[in-house]
């Protein structure tokens, strides 16, 4: 179902069937009003010589790396090697920390997101982010949480569009069946894993081109982790994903390419090795990578 599915839209609103979606034959979700991937080619992201500082301390040194469109890229490495910082540089969240500084370029579709005159808010809407700890807005219902991105970035939408967007986003995040009958409850009333999927749905609702995930499963139990990983795998064809993870099995399971970050005591973090995940885990070129992926340190 692609654009031609739009006529199916009224079917969806006229059923009054929000209460028990599993039994009612809803039409397969036609691409949301604005989350339709068809008219848009997936975007890739590239960094050139990115160096980052916190105050006088340099935490990243000349990181050049390409995250290809339509792929899931995993960033792995021991704690404190700068991979989270790197991720936050990609959507300009880095500059929200006091004393943070940066050099280099981050190219989204060939355009530098740090170009003068570029608004951070616009960059962040195109490059969404899911955080380590689930952080749904506690003062909003599930419904409002999902559409909060519209409100927060000033996009107007009619009620039908919003209803539709909520369903589409929740379905993509694999949460619809669990919460469709209680969209009015506060976001904090869900379990940790559900909250994290709600956050994913919230990020998807503004139809980002890239989705950054900062250890999205590290605060969750194994079952929820598996659910999130399935969600990530399903999202691969809609959005380019960059995921930071401490869990090497996870990196192996979900990602197509991989970058290994490392920082020693006196040197800032840099990419030791990158490439297809398969190769990085089976045939690493660098002995440090081999040690790390085989669990000999870190």
């Amino acid at each position: 179902m692609t654009e031609t599915a739009h006529p199916a839209f009224p079917v969806q609103t006229s059923g009054g069937d929000r209460e028990d979606p599993p039994t009612v034959p809803l039409p397969p979700v036609p691409g949301g009003p604005q989350a339709d991937p068809a008219p848009r080619a997936l975007s890739g992201l590239e960094t050139r010589e990115v160096t980052a500082w916190f105050g006088p301390r340099k935490v990243l040194e000349r990181v050049s790396f390409t995250m290809r469109a339509g792929e899931i890229t995993a960033l792995i490495g021991p704690s404190g090697c700068g991979k989270s910082t790197y991720l936050r540089i990609l959507n300009r969240m880095h500059e929200m920390v006091r004393g943070a500084a940066l050099a280099g370029e981050v190219l989204l579709e060939g355009e530098d997101v740090y170009a003068p005159g570029r608004r951070p808010a616009e960059v962040r809407r195109r490059i969404g982010m899911v955080f380590q700890r689930p952080n749904p807005f506690p003062a909003m219902s599930l419904y409002d949480n999902v559409v909060s991105g519209l409100k927060l970035s000033g996009i107007r939408a009619s009620r039908e569009e919003r209803d539709h967007l909520v369903e589409t986003s929740l379905r993509r995040a694999g949460l619809w069946d669990e919460v469709s009958n209680r969209l009015g409850t506060p976001g904090g009333a869900l379990s940790g894993g559900q909250q994290q999927r709600l956050c994913i749905a919230r990020s998807l609702a503004v139809s980002p081109e890239i989705l950054l995930m900062d250890e999205p499963c590290s605060a969750l139990d194994p079952t929820s982790t598996r659910r999130i990983e399935e969600t990530i795998a399903e999202l691969r064809h809609r959005v380019t994903i960059v995921i930071v993870t401490h869990n090497m099995q996870q990196a192996q399971r979900v990602s197509q390419s991989c970058a290994f970050f490392l920082a020693t005591h006196d040197t800032p973090g840099r990419i030791v090795e990158s490439g297809p995940t398969e190769r990085l885990f089976t045939d690493p070129a660098d002995p440090r990578t081999a040690d790390y992926v085989n669990g000999r340190f870190g």
Partner: protein, 414 residues
Amino acid sequence: MHSTLPQTPQTPQRPAAPEPPDPPEQRRIKLGGTTREEVLTMLGAGAGSLALDWLLYERVLPLSGAFGFLLCWYLLFLALYTLVGRLQWDALTVRERLATALAWSSGLLVLAVIAEQIGYVAVRGLDAARHWNFFTETMRTTAPLSPITSGGCLHAVVGSLEQLGLATLFSVPLGVVTAVFLVEAGTSRRSARFVTPVRVLVEAMTALPSIVAGLFVLGVVILTLGAEKSGLAASLALTVMMTPIVTRAAEVVVRLVPGTLKEASYALGAGQWRTVWHVVLPTARPGLTTAVVLGMARGVGETSPVLLTAGFTARMNLDPLHGNQASLPLYVWNYVKQPYPDMVARAFAGALTLMAVVLVLFVTARVLGRHRAPTERRARRPLRRARTTATAAVPAPAPTPAAVPAPVLAVESR
């Protein structure tokens, strides 16, 4: 070995054996709480110290007075309790129990003071407040020696509510905006310079004597600008008192909003304004309500700012813009000075009313400040679905306009 042999033939019989009866209900162990021994020790120490105190105070020492008697009783009780406790418990337990007794007695002391205040006002005030006319009449036709069944505080209640409402209207936006500034301005280097001066100013205003707030409004609004004494002038004076209270209380709760929520908002493409409006303030709402209540509680009882700016009248004045307007604190202040017992009773009844007003305000604000009940939205949603169904079903081409904005949105999100 020998013992097992005779048992082997019995094993088939075992299943046939009657089911063991349900085990009797287990006795619950008493967790925590006090034992009879402790209670009796405390009661004994209390009675003993009372007797000793009476002996000392009434027969031995050349002292008198209820306060000294109670104080001596308390000190004797502590001493006796320690002594009796030492006979049966070890030193550590005695110290712990003594600390418990001290904590309890200080708590009870505070409660007693509150109860005494409210009770005294209530007892004195009920003389007037038990007559219904007190809440339905003004003092317009009441002469100094009129019976208690005439006259009341209605005009003062109305005046208080109007002045407080106006002052809240002025001070809450000011205070909350200032609080948001204090918290949010720190994030950008350009505005961070102003944070410290503003905070110092707010703290200085908190300590401002209330009579100065009244003098300020008297000097600026009434004497310089030539406005008359009125409810509005009084509410301006109250605003000066309430704003710093609201600001400081609101700053605390705005600062408590987790940074992760703000990050989430920024990561969705929000600016600082929208983050504050849609995420920070709604999350802090219960706390903000408390801040507002604190400010109102401070404002409603203020006498001196109102004294200089509102004037006083025995008549009902509904218009806060013109003419003198009474308020409850002024009512109390004005009538408690008079040498007529009925007037003093009315003043106490006014004080009682003031406390009741504060109580009502607190409860209202608490109810308003709660997060939405989780089920509220859910109950509404089917209704909304029904409504959209109805609107979509009646006009046939309704779906088309619904689908049209979709590409617009997609373009806008680029």
